[in-house]
Amino acid sequence: MTTTNYDPRILKAPHPVPGAPDNWKRFFSFNTDAKVIGIQYIVTSLFFLLVGGLLAMIVRGELLTPPADLVDPTVYNGLYTMHGTVMLFLFLFPILNGFNNLLIPTMIGAPDMAFPRLNAAAFWLVPVFATVLMGSFFAPGGPASSGWWSYPPMSLQNPLGHFINGQFLWILAVALSGISSIMGAVNFVTTIIRMRAPGMGFFKMPIFIWTAWAAQTIQLIGLPPLTGGAVMLLFDLSFGTSFFRPEGGGDPVLFQHFFWFYSHPAVYVLVLPVFGIFSELFPVYARKPLFGYKFVAIASFGITFLSMIVWAHHMFYTGTPNWMRHIFMFTTMLIAVPTGVKVFAWLGTLWRGNLRLNTPMLFCLGGLFNFIFAGITGVMLATVPIDIHVGNTAFVVAHFHYVIFNTIGFGVFAGIYHWFPKFTGRMYYEGLGKVHFVLTFIGATLNWLPLHWAGLLGMPRRVASYDPEFAIWNVLGSIGAFMLGVASIPFILNMVSSWARGPQAPPNPWRAIGLEWLLPSPPPAENFQDDIPTVISEPYGYGLGRPLVEDEEFYVRRSQEA
């Protein structure tokens, strides 16, 4: 192993870090410090979690009763379209990029990202496309209202005929989001490959780094086709081409291929880093090494590979021939294998551990519980004959919210609590955290578990009204949704008050093993600066009594003195 595997010029480069670390103005500037950008991402996306949640509560308010009586159906359609779009492009993608920014450099011992200016530019695109997307509420005719899939020819209808319309702004915002994501992905992958600390071979990287790498690889492969599809859709909508318009000989189903070729793997872009968070946190709070580190690491890229060849399972009932349905059923079900490896590894990590149930661990356990359930309904949806019945019903809505909120959302909260002391330098309040967990777990279960039965009974998704036999499931779902709204109160209270006046956090409050915990809380600009530790062990050496890095005492002492 060479002594260093990153370019020394990066370390010596004059690094633009305006302002002192306690200068709050840096969060509103074009700052190139990955830790500042990470917090910018996370705070921005949490704001949009509230926006998306508010939209969801109006949607659930409409669904509280069978008839369409709360808002006009056109408004309902716009609201649920924007709910999905905001939650994906303004909450989940940015918040996970926030984690990438905070964790990738600190976990691999790099001073910053490989391309700090590109990194800041990628973040500042978020407010730009957020403004475009939010501005579309005021476009003539209202925002996009064809669902976040924007399937043509529905999305091309443009009833008022204006050039600037909700759908136009929506495509523009999604394309900008894609550009921002590609800029981020180039940066994250380069940083992981080129800037690891001396001694940190691939099989000494923490699992979060593995999963971030696997996820960002999907972004690099999948986003170009989606962007191509979006450009064609924009041309069909605004310039009269007919790539997807049947009147001009176009094929509306072609768009579905472009769309799902990226948008199914996109789920893995979101869930892989959360698998990384689970893999980081279970060992810390079970006080045990991660069970089968290498299997878990490799399984990440198994998921990346399989995610590329499953997209047509969204199209089992569009008239796809049987051979195609069968191939995609097989590939989709195969995803259960690498994800199963991870789930069993986490269970193996808990086994004979010494479990500490603080807030991050509770969110991890809740997320794992929900993910096992979501995995099972996922295999059901992959089964062609079952999907032909439950596809496009509330069952699908229930399934993907079990993945996207009850797993990914839980993992995100776990990560926020776990690394809060590290990056703010303050402890959060455990009691409020537990209240947040209990409300979130009950609310989420009540919201989405009953909808599975509504779907099995045949309630389509995206409806503004429904037959009365579905009322009971929807009433329960709406109560759960409002409860999730309430759950955000202790969370906001905790984050704001802890960051403002929480107790000072020590460098390593959880006695965790990892490079980021050898830094002071919060870490200084450029992290380890000139003294980058040399990694000598696999991560997660809990109970093994082996040092992670050469001269570990020095780094521990230095982090405490800072």
Binding site: G166, N354, N392
Partner: protein, 311 residues
């Protein structure tokens, strides 16, 4: 990466507990599988029993995995909690290669078996016929030959924003879909505007209707009753209203209906989005933009949406 636990003689207590747990889990899984049949609407087509059986099988396997894993989590939470001031580490087990290979191979074999079985079931359903593209404005029905196995049809199913129209081979037009029980019926699915989906939950069948394509589709109703036909692919403002009924009746009733309806004059059919659109116009066209509903289809039998449906 091997287990650090030294080899020891089998622990009788552990074996008994695991056997009881697995046995209990099997019983629960079987109960869940049996219970799952009640989560569906009645079985009203020849496809429904296959779908429900497959779902019950996966519910059984899924329940076994779910309760197995979460039961394990429950056990760990009960017996492996750290005390308040206990800062010690757990057993430093880094992995067990044999176990890891096992839990890679078993899911692999399981999903392979499920997928193979599902593939066979899918081949038995045989609902989807040929799909042909056509130029908008031409008559697509000439492109599709009659399903040779079908007893009835082809019935043209025309989906619009937001209404359904069914045209029978003898020229009868209806807003509700009347079908004789236990006869294979063939449809030609046509959309005049956006993508719709022909979804009858009691039949467990769903097929998207793609504008610019005509799709041949066949199914066999097996139970008499009134079942909801719901548009399942989002189709715009009044998507959730775009529903009608499928009336499955005895062959005699069906023949009689076809004969008497043929003599009925054409009249505006079911147009479920219209009332909400009129309400919107009455309120000053407030709300976000929508295309207006297509004119109601002219049909011989407009149906009666006030009769309650069975599922």
């Amino acid at each position: 990466m091997t287990s650090t636990t030294p080899k020891k003689s089998p622990n009788i207590g552990a074996i008994v507990i695991i056997t009881i747990a697995v046995g209990l889990n099997l019983v629960i899984a079987k109960m869940m599988a049996n219970w799952s049949y009640s989560w569906f609407p009645p079985q009203a087509s020849s496809a429904a029993p296959y779908v429900d059986d497959l779902f019950a099988l996966e519910t059984g396997i899924g329940s076994f995995i779910f309760f197995g894993c979460t039961g394990f989590m429950g056990w760990v939470l009960l017996f492996n909690r750290a005390g308040k001031y206990d800062e010690s580490d757990g057993a430093p087990i880094e992995g067990n290669t044999k176990l890891e290979i096992t839990w890679t191979i078993i899911p692999l074999v399981t999903v392979f078996l499920i997928a193979t079985y599902s593939m066979n079931v899918n081949m038995k359903l045989q609902t989807l016929g040929p799909k042909h593209k056509y130029a908008i404005g031409t008559d697509p029905t000439v492109l599709i030959a009659k399903d040779p196995k079908a007893d009835i049809g082809p019935i043209d199913v025309i989906a619009r924003q937001w209404s359904w129209e069914f045209i029978y081979p003898n020229g009868v037009r209806s807003s509700e879909l009347h079908l004789p029980v236990d006869q294979r019926v063939n449809f030609r699915l046509i959309s005049e505007d956006v993508i719709h989906s022909f979804f009858v939950p009691a039949f467990r069948l769903k097929q998207d209707i793609i504008p610019g394509s005509i799709i041949s589709y066949s199914l066999t109703p097996t139970k008499e009753g009134r079942f909801r036909l719901r548009d399942a692919m989002f189709s715009g403002a009044y998507f959730s209203q775009n529903q009608t009924n499928v009336v499955v009746e005895s062959e005699a009733t069906y023949t009689n209906w076809l004969k008497t309806t043929a003599s009925q004059p054409l009249q505006p059919g079911l147009d479920p989005g219209r009332a909400l659109y009129d309400r919107r116009l009455a309120r000053g066209d407030k709300g976000w933009a929508t295309v207006p509903p297509a004119p109601p289809p002219q049909v011989n039998d407009p149906g009666d949406p006030s009769i309650p449906h069975d599922a």
